[in-house]
């Protein structure tokens, strides 16, 4: 239809049949052309389409895994610049901990990275134990390893479910959360809580595992590898999943290291760096496990690495259950750990220790220490400055999500918006940990 006809208000007549053009050509956008042919399309005739515009993504967007806000500059569908804006769930946990006794601080740190609460408690207790120079009994170390690895499985399962949901595979969410619930049941059985268990104490763990826990745990260990096979059967041959994952968000190992990225993201780029192997804590050197690594560091490698890590965690938990040593589950140093409940009725000292620990807490000699462990997302460090009182003068958690987030821009720039969503999913940021 000509312009004159349009101006005259002609509505009928011969319009070109839209269906005459093949579907692919009708739907082909400028952006897809550019992806296919690279810079060749960037000519003068495309000028009107090269306009940049800035949009805001989040903070309340289900694909951002929390309240992450991204300021994106787009050219068509291509992402030219990403600026993460954070702080929406900043709750001042580090500040609040300066007003709490050391043993009460465990409750606070667990709420930072809310999917890896055992890892948070571990790094904090580890730092306090370093300052106290307190030995942790062997059985407590093994119980810690069991719970840390179960927590890693639970965290990775949640990541798998939500990431697949972002890509559009809703089944994975139900399946992964079903298995995660087994782990939470185990946590509930050993500590009384499903999340934020406060099971780790300075000097050991809160309580021994109850009778029947081991059998239930082994039941889960037998179940999980088969379930992981099912997940992989669902995802690994899924054309959509593969196209969304493969060769997306590739960042070289050198750039990742410059950004301080650790954890599965770094291992997916082919760097076998894992603090459990490199600098073993809590008896990790006594277990036989492998560090899965990827090859090129795209989203698919990140997915494969995490899946393989869950299988390794199953092995570690099984070994820890097999070799679980006898002995106390918390240090016998009554200046740090509460005395057993039954002693309070008969022992004056036990009552005094109990009273002192609950009212004043234990004092930590002045000094400072930085300790790091391998959380499900990378190096989780804890810095504590002690001034000699029963409250820390400064606690800082080096959260892996906070540091890893800096690599998002490099992963996403130059790719499609949809790939950026896949990158966020595979980055696995936990905003509670980022904002603290």
């Amino acid at each position: 239809m000509s312009d004159e006809e349009l101006e005259r208000g002609v509505t009928g007549g011969q319009r070109p049949d839209p269906l005459a053009t093949p579907y692919r050509e009708r739907e082909r956008s400028v952006t897809m052309d550019r992806v296919a042919h690279g810079a060749a399309v960037e000519t003068a005739e495309r000028e009107p389409d090269t306009e940049l515009f800035t949009i805001n993504l989040g903070p309340h967007h289900p694909a951002t895994h929390g309240v992450l806000r991204l300021l994106c500059t787009l050219e068509g569908e291509l992402v030219r610049e990403v600026k993460p804006i954070i702080g929406y769930v900043h709750t001042g946990i580090e500040k609040s901990m300066e007003t709490q006794q050391y043993w009460k601080g465990i409750t606070f740190v667990e709420r930072m990275d809310y999917l890896a609460y055992f890892a948070n408690a571990m790094t904090y207790c580890n730092a306090v134990e370093t300052l106290l120079e307190e030995e942790v009994p062997k059985r407590a170390q093994y119980l810690r390893v069991i719970h840390l690895e179960l927590n890693r499985i639970a965290s990775h399962l949640f990541w798998l479910g939500t990431s697949a949901l972002d890509i559009g595979a809703i089944t994975m969410l139900w399946w992964a959360l079903r298995e995660r619930d087994h782990v939470l049941d185990l946590f509930e059985m050993s500590s009384g809580q499903r999340m934020h268990t406060r099971y780790f104490q300075v000097g050991g763990v809160m309580d021994d595992i109850p009778p029947g826990w081991e059998a239930k745990c082994r039941e889960f260990l037998d179940l999980l590898p088969g379930r992981l096979d099912q997940y992989e059967a669902l995802l690994d041959r899924n054309e959509i999943w593969l196209q969304r994952m493969k060769n997306v968000g590739v960042v070289s190992r050198e750039r990742l290291l410059a950004y301080g990225v650790t954890g599965p993201l770094l291992r997916a780029a082919g760097d076998p760096w894992d603090l459990r192997k490199a600098a073993p804590y809590s008896s990790y050197d006594e277990f036989d496990f492998k560090i899965p690594v990827g090859t090129i560091g795209d989203c698919y490698d990140r997915y494969r690495v995490r899946m393989a890590e869950m299988r390794e965690s199953v092995k570690i938990v099984a070994q820890a259950l097999d070799g679980l040593p006898e002995g106390p589950f918390i240090t016998t140093n009554r200046k740090v750990a509460l005395p057993p409940r039954h002693e309070l009725a008969t022992s004056m000292e036990a009552l005094i220790h109990h009273f002192k620990l609950v009212t004043e807490g234990f004092r930590v000699p002045a000094g400072e220490a930085y300790n790091a462990i391998e959380s499900p997302r990378g190096e989780l460090g804890c810095y504590i400055l002690a001034d000699g009182s029963a409250k820390p003068a400064r606690v800082h958690i080096r959260d892996p999500s906070f540091v890893n987030l800096q690599a998002l821009a490099e992963m996403s720039e130059g790719g499609l918006i949809a790939d950026m969503i896949a990158n966020i999913a595979m980055l696995d940021p936990i905003l509670g940990g980022i904002d603290r």
């Binding site: 702080g87 007003t99 400072e368 930085y370 003068a393 603290r436």
Partner: protein, 173 residues
């Protein structure tokens, strides 16, 4: 971790390469080594430790701030260096006063320092000279004060309810 003697050797090498006034002190406790350097020389010391030292530390694991309140100078910035080849950590710290809290930025050496330096500025008010994007990161942009300082009160902000909203002018901004 370098032991106490190893730390002294590191300090000697840094002094020889960067300048006698660069290293202010060494601290070794709990099997952790910490080098204290003058604030103006931080960037040069870190560049030397990253590239030129015979035992290089190529990875910046963590950068955080701290407030040593009763002591002077009050504010501290910690750099946790890591050598992944030797699995050794070395802490580098520098201390500045509240009146002149300026430290050179190391973002060009370690891009990972970007967000972390912004957090230290946000929480402690340490200014990083040469930072490409020196804004607050966790607190709102128009926030006044640096909440992680020890003399900043906990809960110093009024909580908004309907009965007191008329007393908090322009709270909605």
């Amino acid at each position: 971790m370098p032991d106490a003697a190893g730390l002294e050797l590191v300090a000697q090498r840094v002094r020889a390469a960067v300048g006698g006034d660069s290293v202010v002190g060494t601290h070794h406790a709990h099997r952790q080594a910490m080098l204290e350097v003058a604030p103006a020389r931080v960037r040069e010391v870190l560049a030397y430790l990253r590239d030129e030292d015979e035992e290089p530390y190529e990875f910046l694991a963590s950068l955080h701030g701290v407030d040593y309140l009763p002591e002077e100078p009050r504010l501290g910035v910690h750099y946790q260096l890591l050598s992944r080849a030797r699995v050794e950590r070395l802490g580098v710290k520098t201390r500045v006063t509240v009146e002149e809290p300026v430290v050179p930025s190391v973002v060009d050496l370690f891009p990972t320092a970007d967000h972390q330096e912004r957090e230290v500025f946000d929480m402690f008010g340490v200014l990083f000279d040469g930072h490409p994007d020196p804004r607050r990161i966790l607190m709102p942009e128009d926030y006044e004060g640096h909440p992680q300082r020890r003399d900043f009160p906990v809960g110093g902000e009024p909580v908004l309810f309907t009965y007191n909203e008329h007393k908090l002018p322009r709270w909605y901004e």
